[in-house]
């Protein structure tokens, strides 16, 4: 069993979605958004919860989370700056300027996180607002033409929110973010494992509303004809040679 589960209110949102999708697996993208909202990022625990909710293995969820770069991971800072570095924004040095400003305020180079884990900065690909470069996203806030005073003021407001000053960060260098998945999550307690070693994933889903039929993936019935080659009459299959 996962260590935590979703809050009742988000679990309700999950149940509200059920009717919209033909199967549980297809709810994974939206479920990952729910767990991301719940935990602030997608960590190992969140991945297991999403896997349980959608009836897939945690390995599949890991594969999803590492494929889609927009999901926030535990390695990212609490405030995650994403600066568009694709050609249209990079023209005329717009991206460079935004990155330089972030570096001068927070001491962060792209791909780094502050040592206290509050801020991180990374370059991302096109954010689709190419007429107003540079485009910067901070978690789920979107800014266009984000350079000069606007960017400085915004960083200052975040620093104020966290009771920090930019002087605290200017002298310390950031740490590189490691977005790889650890081999075993630190909280992994082997609960729910069977003697054969693997965790059991069955269709008895604790998250579905009482009274509602669980959405199971039906197991195909056993084949009527066994998958063996037809044997001609009169051939001894026990190895005895005739004649």
């Amino acid at each position: 069993m996962p260590v935590k589960t979703l809050s009742p209110e988000r679990l309700k949102r999950f149940h509200d979605m059920v009717d919209d999708y033909p199967n549980k697996r297809s709810m994974l993208m939206m479920t990952l958004r729910l767990v991301e909202e719940e935990f602030g990022c997608i960590n190992d625990e969140a991945m297991e919860i999403a896997a349980d909710l959608c009836g897939v293995t945690p390995a599949h969820v890991q594969g999803m989370v590492t494929f889609y770069t927009h999901f926030k991971r535990s390695a990212h800072g609490k405030h995650r700056f994403m600066v568009c570095a694709t050609l249209m924004c990079a023209l005329d040095g717009n991206t460079d300027q935004a990155l330089k400003q972030i570096e001068s305020k927070l001491g962060l180079k792209p791909g780094q996180r502050t040592q206290d884990g509050l801020f991180s900065c990374e370059k991302v690909e096109c954010l689709a607002d190419c007429d107003k470069p540079p485009v910067v996203q901070k978690d789920f806030e979107h800014f266009c033409s984000m350079k000069g005073k606007a960017l400085d003021d915004y960083i200052e407001s975040l620093l104020k929110l966290e009771n920090k000053t930019s002087a605290e960060y200017q002298n310390s260098s950031g740490v590189e973010m490691d977005l790889r998945i650890s081999v075993l999550p630190s909280h992994y307690n082997f609960e729910g494992e069977t003697e054969s070693g693997a965790r059991q994933f069955d269709d008895k889903d604790p998250y579905f509303k009482p009274g509602e039929a669980p959405r199971t993936t039906s197991v195909p019935p056993p084949l009527l004809t066994p998958l063996t080659a037809p044997v001609a009459d009169g051939v001894n299959m026990n190895g005895a040679q005739h004649g």
Binding site: E125, A128, H142
Partner: protein, 461 residues
Amino acid sequence: MADATPFSPVILKHIHEPGSHTIEHYQARGGYETARNLVGTAEPASLVKIVEDSGLRGRGGAGFPTGKKWSFLAKGTGKPAYLAVNGDESEPGTFKDRYILEKDPHQLLEGVILTCWAIQSNHAFIYLRGEFILGYERLEAAVREAKAKGFIGKNIFGKNFDLKVVVMRGAGAYICGEETGMLSSIEGGRGYPKIKPPFPAVSGVFKCPTIVNNVETIAAVSHILKHGAAWHKQWGTEKSPGFKIFCLSGAVKNPGVYEVPLGITMREMIEVYGGGLIEGRTLKAVIPGGLSAPLLTPEMVDKCTLDYESLASLGSMLGSGGITVLHDGVDLMSAVYNTMRFYHHESCGQCTPCREGTGWLEKLAHKFHGGHAHSGDVDLVGEVAKNMRGRTICVLADAAAMPMQSYLQHFRGEFEKRTHEPAHVERLRTPRDEITPTAKRESVQHGAPNVVDVGMGMDRV
């Protein structure tokens, strides 16, 4: 075709009005009336015929005729049909769908309702890219409003037709803009494209017949079914009728979205709508249809009109309509490097020619950008690009190779300027007494006043 009425924007007509994203505003301008009149009463096949007659072509990039695509939908399979609306607008240089989703989501929903009736589907997915935050909120709100009014849900408009509209969010994968990649993502997997055939119209999402259309296409459908095919055909050229939203970015005075009839000249787009180039700069090249479109030189720009055929005849494509203007100060080698870094980052990794080829192109472009490429690398670039094309499941490999080939074709000199012979080769070729101690090379002058470097470094986090 003579213009019967002068063109004024259709899809973007109301985006500057406050509150244009609300259902009250949309209904006040006659919204949902077309759907109310047609759903449940009009013959679905007749709607497909209207869209086919209008000559509407897919606005996502490939330009496939929409009505024809709808008519390919497999019927009588016993499986439900799905509509998947592609709002994963990730082609760099394109931002038209953002305006539709944020400013006028209800016309998209009306288009979805009409399309679902036309193809007899009861279930539509609208897949947005994860970075569209306001767009997602507004579209979700719009779906809720439409549900409350009974335009979506069970028994819509009281016409005994059920329709589910589900808004989904991606999470930052360019490949999910490819139609089968998007369907894989809807199914809850990595956004891996699938081999075609079978085409989605036969076996798409959940192995059911699926129609995949771009947001702009669906938005245009609601207007075409309101005014008719002849109305749509009065603009544009014979093979590319209608109007299209173009996204202008780069070195122009007024970048932004402009909805114009197809077939206007590229010069008009840049000079009139874009206000001309920024002061003190001249035109170097234009990327006409998103980053993957082969670029146009100034001479080709003079000949170019904005329709599918003209751009195809110039060896490029209209694509998604994202026009980027590069001025004379842009260091092309850094632009190439930036472009190739993008494709290497976004390759999904299924097919070897793409996964490895984009990496090769990025590394080679990095060599040219830094000025340490050898003379043989120019041909190597062309060779790698040639061998990537047409050998993969989806067209991402082509999308990376096409701009590279066009840079090489039109600006080979710029590549050659950045090369030098490796010292040992040079020594073999030159007589002993002529050997100079350093090989001749030109590298980009970082921070030089007249050169704009957009390469953005090797790290890609």
